[in-house]
């Protein structure tokens, strides 16, 4: 070290002297802003280094921070995704609940306004078998369900009970290849509805000369003694002329909105073929809230003489039926329908109810079904919007 200093003694001294004078210059000199040059030089010398260090530190810190943040973001993203999934499930659940409530209301309305006695049931399972269109309903023999009973929804027929167990029943859907039911159109064309194992059903034995149009509604005819007359079956989708019978394809309407809640017809009552298809039937209007304007539309109550002509007619029919001891909507098997030919005459004493007679679903359809029942079935057959005001 000593030899090194001796070797470069001159240059070393030169540098020391210059450095000393630089320090002196820096201490004594001031810039135009009266700041000593030593400060200016120090700041100028330190600033780039500090900026580099700060850049490295900030970059590294930012990288680590962002990395950590990214890590947190990933975890947060997963958490939010799980929350979204949970909310979606809740939303789906609530929608299902709402749909269930709407269906229940529709079933209730349909059940209340149908002359047939029905039993609400929920489909809780699907029968085994790849081709079999069979479902399981949660009503059985303890609830009065018997084999051969019809199963419907407000939209149309669904199937029939093929097996009744104590706590459940097996329902054969109308799309099952072994299903068959008597059907007819508004124009009077009759045939046998058969399942195809596909979403559409076929109507056999429609005479060649009978007129069936595409889009026409098909209803149960009651000939099969399973389905009471007048229940909607579906719309005609195609008609092909053939000898000796036409080939008519029908799209069932009872299965279009899913199959969760159904009605099992415990005591069927034949009805007339509705004048309007289920989708075009009147829409139920709820009564206005209390305190509404007096000039607002008020629902017409049955028996209210101030209603429409139809309401007055309905009230008259209902009064006549009640005078004859008929309980609408609670017809027991073999019960005699009201005699509406006495409309406008003095009320006769109530007739005794007949017990043990042939169930109305298995008997011939009434020649003159009560307009009240027809109207209510017309308006209620289309689902939730089918309630009579």
């Amino acid at each position: 070290m000593e030899s090194l200093l001796n070797r470069y003694r001159n240059i070393t001294v030169l540098l020391l002297v210059i450095m000393a004078q630089l320090v002196l210059l820096a201490v004594s000199a001031k810039n135009d802003q009266d700041v000593r040059m030593i400060r200016v030089w120090t700041v100028t010398a330190v600033t780039p280094l500090a900026r580099i260090i700060e850049g490295v530190r900030g970059g590294g810190s930012g990288f680590l921070h962002n990395y950590v943040l990214l890590h947190d973001t990933s975890a947060e993203n997963k958490k939010l995704q799980a929350e979204v999934d949970k909310l979606r499930l809740e939303n789906t659940f609530l929608k299902n609940e709402l749909n269930t409530a709407e269906r229940a209301k529709a079933l209730q309305v349909f059940q209340a306004h149908s002359p047939s006695k029905m039993l609400g049931a929920t489909i809780f399972g699907i029968g085994a078998g790849s081709n079999a269109k069979v479902v399981l309903a949660d009503r059985g023999t303890v609830n009065g369900v018997q084999r051969g009973m019809a199963v419907v929804t407000p939209d149309g027929i669904v199937g029939k009970v093929v097996a009744a167990y104590p706590m459940a029943s097996q329902v054969q859907l109308i799309t099952d290849p072994e299903f068959a039911a008597g059907v007819m159109t508004k124009g009077g064309a009759r045939g046998t509805l058969k399942g195809q194992g596909t979403p559409q059903c076929r109507i056999d034995y429609v005479p060649f000369e009978d007129k069936v149009d595409v889009g026409e509604w098909v209803y149960t005819s009651g000939d099969d003694r399973i389905f009471p007359r007048g229940f909607a079956v579906g719309q005609v989708r195609s008609v092909r002329a053939a000898q000796p019978f036409k080939e008519v394809m029908v799209e069932p309407s009872g299965l279009q909105r899913g199959l969760e809640d159904v009605l099992i017809i415990v005591e069927g009552v034949h009805q007339d073929i509705p004048d309007t298809p289920p989708g075009l039937q009147p829409v139920y209007l709820a009564p206005p809230p209390p305190g509404a304007a007096p000039n607002s539309v008020q629902p017409v109550q049955p028996g209210n003489p101030g209603g429409t002509e139809a309401d007055r007619l309905e009230s008259a029919y209902k009064a006549l039926g009640q005078a004859q001891g008929h309980d609408f909507g609670d017809n027991r098997p073999g019960e005699k329908p009201p005699d509406y030919t006495k409309l406008g005459q003095p009320a006769a004493p109530p007739a005794p109810k007949a017990d043990g007679a042939v169930p109305p679903a298995t008997g011939a359809p009434p020649k003159n079904p009560p307009p009240d029942a027809v109207r209510r079935s017309n308006q209620a057959g289309g689902g939730p919007g089918g309630q009579v005001p």
Binding site: V13, L14, I18, Q21, L22, L24, L25, A29, M37
Partner: protein
């Protein structure tokens, strides 16, 4: 010690031996140079171009032929000149330190007794002195100082002429071996 007027480079270590001056010469001559620098231009403004401290530093540096001695003389004279001027301390000090160092280095290699060599050295070191001062003023003090090269060259030539005469006078003050 004999000097050849035909040779510029020193041929032996003996020829390059440093000149010796009395102590008072090393003190008084720089002081007189500084006094000349600050006093004479008050009365003879046209003599303000003379850089007497630089010439004195140059002379002692090349004649003593030791770098440390040259840089120390340059540093002291420069700091003294800074003290007498409005410049921050160190500007002339650093400048003349380098001049003294390099002049001594040159004096160790070439024959500085030659008149033309002295003239050339005075011119070159004056130019170096002015240029380096300009650099430091811009770099260290952030002063926007202009460098007029023709004027610098002209003043360098005048200082060189004066320097040759001054060196001849100062040669009289050397101690004889």
């Amino acid at each position: 010690m004999t000097y050849s007027g035909d040779r510029l480079l020193l041929s032996s270590q003996r020829e390059g031996q440093e000149s010796r001056f009395r102590g008072w010469v090393l003190v008084v001559v720089p002081l007189l140079a500084l006094l000349f620098q600050v006093y004479v231009p008050l009365f003879f403004q046209f003599l303000g171009f003379l850089e007497m401290p630089l010439l004195v530093v140059l002379y002692f540096a090349i004649m003593r032929r030791t770098q440390i001695s040259g840089l120390m003389i340059g540093a002291l004279v420069g700091l003294a000149q800074d003290s007498l001027s409005k410049n921050p301390l160190g500007m002339f000090g650093i400048d003349k330190t380098l001049v003294g160092y390099f002049a001594a280095s040159v004096g160790m290699k070439i024959d500085v007794e030659n008149g033309m060599v002295r003239l050339l050295l005075c011119f070159l070191f004056y130019a170096f002195h002015q240029f380096f001062y300009w650099v430091m003023a811009r770099a260290l003090l952030s002063q926007q100082v202009a460098l007029d090269l023709p004027r610098t060259a002209a003043l360098g030539l005048l200082n060189a002429i004066v320097g040759v005469a001054l060196f001849a006078f100062l040669d009289k003050l050397r101690e004889r071996a």
